[in-house]
């Protein structure tokens, strides 16, 4: 067999859909019909999941640590809000694309600041960019509404046919569809030679460049794409809540999404989605129990997950390992894990 054929077969094997993946998406589809009363929080989960997926593209696949991913989320959110408010683009799907493009443009420009430096440096540069954007949004309040948030956004019906309803059904189906399509695209991309070259860069960028992979160009490309994804997630938030506030840029939002992604695991695309489901539902359940002190318990959960990781791993080794194989995950961060 020629090398090219071998590579092609490898790639095809990677791209095959595993049973558990299908189960995952069927469950998501079922939630539309089975959990109508939970559509509001599910919408939020879908948006957070998409946002975390976008972070996974750069952290899990290219190894760029970001604490300012909200910059793109926020830009998308405000872009969608302004487009709708001033009637420039009335149809949500088009506006979504426009917002994504805007965020991708910002991602492209800022990606050049991230080519040098350590994890910590990148962490702080991304954080700084997000905070500066927040200040800009705060300063130009004639456009953005400043600290009051962007008011008076009226979003037209999706595809001209489905108007948003108060129970959030349309919003959920819309968000889930966007998430699914975005996921498909990301999955396709990450199983392509481009995705493989990113993994090589993440593994060892020096070696990657030695075998002829253009490191900088690829980092710029993936950062731009991820920024576009984040922008779409932000635009979805604005469209489904008909509202945008400065909080879309906040440090807390960047930190939360990082938390969600780490919780779910990086580098296999589902981490962000699973993390979002777990984090949001646990948080929601805890707020129901104690609106004032829920943070304590969620903190405890995080600490225990890390501390108990080894023991849980041993217990769940069999099951976990199988699931990992089933979803086609190639463990990256936990090279030490048994």
């Amino acid at each position: 067999m020629t090398l090219a054929a071998q590579v092609a077969r490898q790639l095809a094997a990677r791209a095959r859909w595993r049973p558990l993946e299908i189960v995952f998406w069927l469950a998501a589809l079922a939630s539309i019909f089975l959990l109508p009363s939970r559509h509001l929080i599910l919408t939020e989960i879908a948006i957070l999941g998409l946002f975390a997926l976008s972070l996974d593209l750069i952290l899990g696949y290219a190894g760029i640590l970001s604490l300012g991913h909200a910059a793109f989320f926020g830009l998308g959110a405000y872009a969608a809000g302004l487009l709708a408010k001033y009637g420039l683009v009335g149809e949500p799907v088009l506006a979504l694309f426009a917002a994504g493009l805007g965020a991708a443009a910002l991602g492209f420009v800022t990606s050049f600041l991230l080519l040098r430096g350590s994890d910590l440096t990148r962490l702080m540069v991304t954080l700084g960019i997000a905070l500066i954007l927040r200040e800009i949004a705060n300063r130009y309040d004639w456009l953005t509404g400043g600290a009051d948030g962007l008011q008076g956004i009226v979003i037209g019906p999706v595809l001209g046919a489905f108007a948003f309803d108060i129970a959030g059904h349309v919003a959920y189906v819309y968000s889930l569809s966007v998430l699914f399509l975005a996921f498909l695209a990301a999955r396709r991309l990450m199983n392509s030679p481009f995705g493989l070259s990113l993994r090589a860069i993440k593994g060892n960028s020096l070696r990657a460049s030695a075998i002829g992979i253009g490191v900088d160009a690829r980092l710029v490309a993936i950062y731009t794409i991820a920024a576009g994804y984040a922008g779409i997630a932000g635009a979805l938030l604005t469209q489904t809540t008909q509202f945008a506030s400065l909080d879309v840029f906040s440090f807390e939002r960047s930190a939360d999404v990082l938390l969600v992604l780490i919780l779910g695991g990086t580098g296999y695309l589902y981490g962000g989605l699973i993390g979002a489901v777990v984090f949001k539902l646990v948080q929601d359940a805890l707020i129901d129990v104690t609106a004032q002190y829920w943070q304590f318990w969620i903190g405890l959960v995080l600490v225990l997950i890390v501390l108990g990781g080894e023991r849980v791993k041993r217990l769940a080794a069999a099951a976990g390992g199988r699931i990992a194989r089933l979803v086609g995950r190639r463990p990256k961060l936990d090279a030490k894990a048994p």
Partner: protein, 286 residues
């Protein structure tokens, strides 16, 4: 003009005492301790309780705040942190953010969510006017204490056996271990001292920065800026970075109040693009 400079220095010194422990832990163990601010908060609240409820004089409460955070740091290090050193950075982030959440909610539960203030003795309130330069008495105290601490730290690092071991361990942990240096013990002590210093900073800073349960989150960004701009390979780096940050922040707010918050972030990004290892950092082999 000079008043602004003075204020900026005091603010910067305070930031240094708060953040230097973080710089050392990051440089030494390559450990991301986002919960560093929680130790500062602990020191602050210990001082509030001592001074306001038990009537301990403020100056006597300061060493106690250091001690409390020192002990807390040592305990946490031995019981919890040791299990996390070997894990990935991302897991460390998860772990320490979890600790921050817990500390925030716990303090809210015990002390309430409102801001706390330390009852300062009258002698420390108000300010001197020296040749038209307004010098806040309290800020002067901060500069004196933090300056002395910095000098002491530098002397310990350079002049003592422990300091030599610590520097060796920061430079190359594996080789230091090979030379028979007990890196874990060195680290445990350093961690506790760093926590203690943060606690002292929290006690001193309660008056100026305000003290409420979200303190560890509110100032996390500032700590991280100090560490990244200053680099983690020495303590002079973070020290100078703190001063720079303090002065820039105060001067920015004074001269261009409309741009106040832009100033420090812009400086930070500019510095990091120019010197990705930090302004005073060295490129290490790691």
């Amino acid at each position: 003009m000079l008043t602004i400079l003075f204020d900026g220095i005091a603010y910067g010194m305070l930031l240094f005492v708060l953040a230097c422990g973080l710089a050392v832990t990051l440089g030494l163990m390559n450990f991301v301790n986002l919960a560093h601010g929680a130790f500062a908060m602990a020191g602050g609240y210990v001082t509030v309780v001592l001074v306001n409820r038990l009537g301990v004089p403020f100056l006597a409460a300061l060493p106690l705040a250091f001690l409390a955070s020192f002990v807390l740091g040592a305990l946490m290090e031995r019981t919890l942190y040791v299990h996390v050193y070997a894990k990935s950075h991302l897991e460390q982030v998860l772990f320490t953010i979890g600790l921050v959440f817990m500390s925030v909610a716990a303090v809210d539960y015990v002390m309430g969510s409102q801001q706390q203030f330390v009852g300062l003795p009258a002698a420390l309130q108000g300010r001197y006017d020296v040749l038209g330069v307004g010098i806040g008495k309290y800020r002067l105290l901060i500069i004196v204490i933090c300056g002395a601490l910095t000098a002491a730290l530098q002397l310990i690092l350079v002049g003592t056996r422990f300091g030599t071991r610590l520097r060796a361990a920061v430079d190359d942990r594996r080789v230091a271990r090979g030379l028979g240096i007990n890196v874990d013990a060195v680290f445990a002590v350093t961690f506790a001292v760093g926590s203690g210093l943060a606690g002292l900073g929290g006690a001193l800073g309660a008056e100026i920065l305000g003290l409420d349960p979200i303190f560890p989150l509110k100032f996390l960004i500032y700590f991280l800026i100090v560490v990244t701009v200053g680099g983690t390979s020495s303590i002079t780096g973070p020290f100078l970075a703190s001063l720079l940050l303090g002065i820039a922040d105060v001067a920015g707010k004074y001269y261009v109040p409309k741009l106040g918050a832009f100033v420090i972030y812009t400086i930070m990004i500019a510095v990091l693009i120019w010197r990705p290892q930090g302004l005073f950092g060295r490129v290490t082999a790691r």
